[in-house]
């Protein structure tokens, strides 16, 4: 799959094309050199507005490479999610540069594997584990989560010897909303038929946008929109008009598991919507502004994230409805990481929802970070497209 013309200018034109992590690393290193502390994060539930209001820069810690799994399996069970094994392997082999420059780590009680893995790495860096309510609709959930966010603020303030103000958090809420609106303007180009974006462009932009401030992203957004407007004016698009449009949902997809995106493309599909924490999910909703209680506003927004660790996770189906209406996919492909029980079980609901409510073919791919199953996945994806 490629653009309909040659010599297409990359969405972010710099020396890091195809190297999302290196681009983010350079950004964080620059901030650190300027005296900002670094808060390592593992999950989309980490409240970025509070981290930024304390004056820190967030760093997404390494979790997506097969190479560190063998080292991790010396301690962790083999039958565990590759994301957790990879994360742990990076720490014990001291090969995650983001962890290396982190001054503290923010963690959440999302799934059992992560929760227990955090215990094993808690002595490396100052760490704060947030108790994430998993019944988000219970009336106490919001207050409990807000309390946790306040505690995190205290931890960061003490560890970094800095302080955040309610006004500062409110300003960060507004900045996030501006960023998310701009990101959605970019995503709009993937809703076009055919899409004007290649999946890796969305992936790379999302990677950077999670760590960089809205202010620092402004010049990049300007260039991005200029590039996209040029593409539109010149009739440049990605893939073909008849290529199946694919919505990928499920576990985070990054690094070595992007093999699934590549296989989808090689089989003739175009990934238009990336419904995961490494894709479009972190940018899909906004935070309520001017509530007078910014911590509660932040808490409310993060609690709405439709991760499968929540029960019941009805918001995921609601969000899926919106994503399907917006991106008009021809198929839904769910990526479940091996031993991720919550996404794996929830997949049954997603399958029924896709098939029965939206009449869309659905395929679940259960995989890890190795390349041993590439041909098996290819057979399934090609068969899915054959059946259209």
């Amino acid at each position: 799959m490629k653009f309909n013309v040659t010599d297409v200018k990359p969405l972010i034109e710099d020396e890091f094309v195809g190297e999302a992590a290196k681009r983010a690393l350079q950004y964080i290193q620059t901030k650190r050199s300027a005296g900002m502390p670094v808060a390592g994060i593992y999950c989309g539930y980490a409240p970025m507005e509070v981290i930024r209001a304390v004056g820190a820069v967030p760093a997404i810690l390494c979790a997506f490479a097969n190479k560190t799994i063998a080292a991790a399996e010396a301690v962790l069970p083999a039958n565990l999610c590759p994301l957790i094994k990879s994360s742990y392997g990076f720490i014990i082999t001291d090969t995650c540069p983001f962890f290396g420059i982190s001054d503290a780590v923010v963690a959440e009680t999302t799934c059992d594997g992560k929760k227990k893995m955090f215990e094993l790495i808690s002595h490396y860096k100052p760490m704060f584990v947030m108790d994430l309510p998993q019944l988000p609709d219970e009336k106490e959930a919001l207050a409990n989560w807000a309390t946790m966010i306040t505690k995190l603020q205290g931890f960061l303030e003490k560890t970094f010897e800095k302080s955040a103000t309610p006004e500062g958090i409110e300003a960060e809420i507004k900045a996030t909303n501006i960023k998310n609106r701009l990101m959605n303007r970019v995503f709009d180009y993937a809703t076009k038929k055919p899409s004007l974006l290649k999946w890796s462009e969305t992936y790379e932009l999302a990677f950077l946008a999670q760590v960089a401030t809205t202010e620092d992203l402004q010049p990049i957004f300007q260039e991005v929109f200029k590039t996209l407007e040029e593409r539109e004016a010149k009739g440049v698009y990605y893939g073909t008009a008849s290529a199946p449009r694919v919505l990928v949902t499920g576990c985070p997809v990054g690094g070595d598991s992007t093999k699934v995106y590549k296989i989808i493309e090689e089989a003739g599909g175009v990934v238009v919507a990336m419904d995961s924490c490494t894709g479009m999910k972190p940018f899909m909703t906004e935070i309520e502004e001017n509530t007078g209680n910014p911590i509660a506003a932040v808490a409310a927004r993060y609690l709405q994230l439709p991760c499968s660790c929540m029960t019941p996770n009805t918001r995921r189906l609601d969000e899926l409805d919106k994503t399907i209406a917006r991106f008009q996919p021809d198929v839904v492909i769910e990526v479940v990481l091996h031993a991720c029980h919550s996404y794996n079980i929830e997949a049954y609901k997603i399958m029924n929802h896709a098939k029965n409510k939206h009449n869309l073919p659905y395929l679940k791919i259960e995989t890890d970070y190795s390349d041993g199953d590439v041909e098996q996945i290819r057979t399934r994806v090609e068969a899915l497209f054959d059946s259209l």
Partner: protein, 250 residues
């Protein structure tokens, strides 16, 4: 009329079908080995020539070499199944390392499909390894299971664990035919659960190398409580589908 060819490069066996004037004029099979291109060359070297479509795990490997079109096994089986069994609505294919269940609409289009997880549990390879663990050839493994009076349940579905289970069952003095039948039961149950995922509509076709196993065929019929049709040569259904698609393209 044009001669067309279908090639199914499976994980264990490579199948060739030559189609001419509305009929199969040649079928050939060979073990896949470590060098599938050499095996394909051998199968094709004095065969009639014509447009060729390939499927199976090795299809991408031969795509450049033979300059042919490739299709997924699902499509190949959907087309081939209707050719050998025109009223077919449900296909069960148990091959060397894959098990597939496909449901077809009334006009033969693919409605739903499901495949086993990426491991070899419940596939032909699984049967081979279990037969070896029992010290039997594949043929004798089936014959012993057919003649068994009792069945000893085998619970593990992971090929490696199931082999250990079989070995420890032998060590406990359980009769070999009972273990052989237990293994057939376990695979049949797995195949039926895969079929249930795609909704079973008659008529049902059983294809792939494992369909040669009469005990498996019988167990699947028993568990479904329905008649299951196995074609005379269940291994060539995918290759036949390819040859037919090649003919359609001409």
């Amino acid at each position: 009329m044009t001669t067309t060819l279908g090639l199914d490069i499976g994980s264990r066996t490579i199948k060739l079908v030559v189609w001419k004037s509305g009929a199969t004029v040649m079928t050939r099979k060979a073990l896949t080995s470590y060098d599938p291109i050499a095996v394909c060359r051998e199968l094709l070297h004095d065969a009639p020539t014509g447009p060729l479509v390939a499927t199976g795990y090795g299809r991408h490997l031969v795509k450049e070499y033979l300059r042919c079109e490739t299709i997924s096994e699902i499509k190949a089986f959907a087309v081939g199944a209707r050719a050998v069994f025109p009223s077919c609505r449900t296909i069960l294919d148990i091959g060397g390392q894959d098990t597939k269940a496909i449901s077809l609409s009334e006009d033969g289009r693919i409605d739903k499909f499901h495949m086993n997880d990426k491991c070899a549990a419940g596939t032909g390879r699984f049967l081979e390894i279990m037969a070896t663990a029992l010290g039997l050839s594949l043929g004798d493994f089936m014959t012993e299971a057919l003649a068994a009076e009792t069945s000893h349940p085998i619970n593990s579905m992971c090929t490696v664990f199931a082999e250990s289970e079989v070995i420890s069952t032998i060590a406990r003095g359980i009769a070999r035919p009972a273990i052989a039948l237990g293994i057939h039961h376990a695979i049949a149950a797995r195949a039926v659960s895969l079929l249930e995922r795609v909704s079973i509509t008659e008529d049902i076709l059983f294809a792939g190398g494992v369909a040669l196993n009469r005990c498996m065929h019988k167990q699947i019929e028993n568990k479904l409580d329905r008649k299951v049709h196995a074609p005379a040569d269940p291994q060539i259904v995918g290759a036949l589908g390819c040859a037919l698609l090649a003919a359609k393209n001409v």
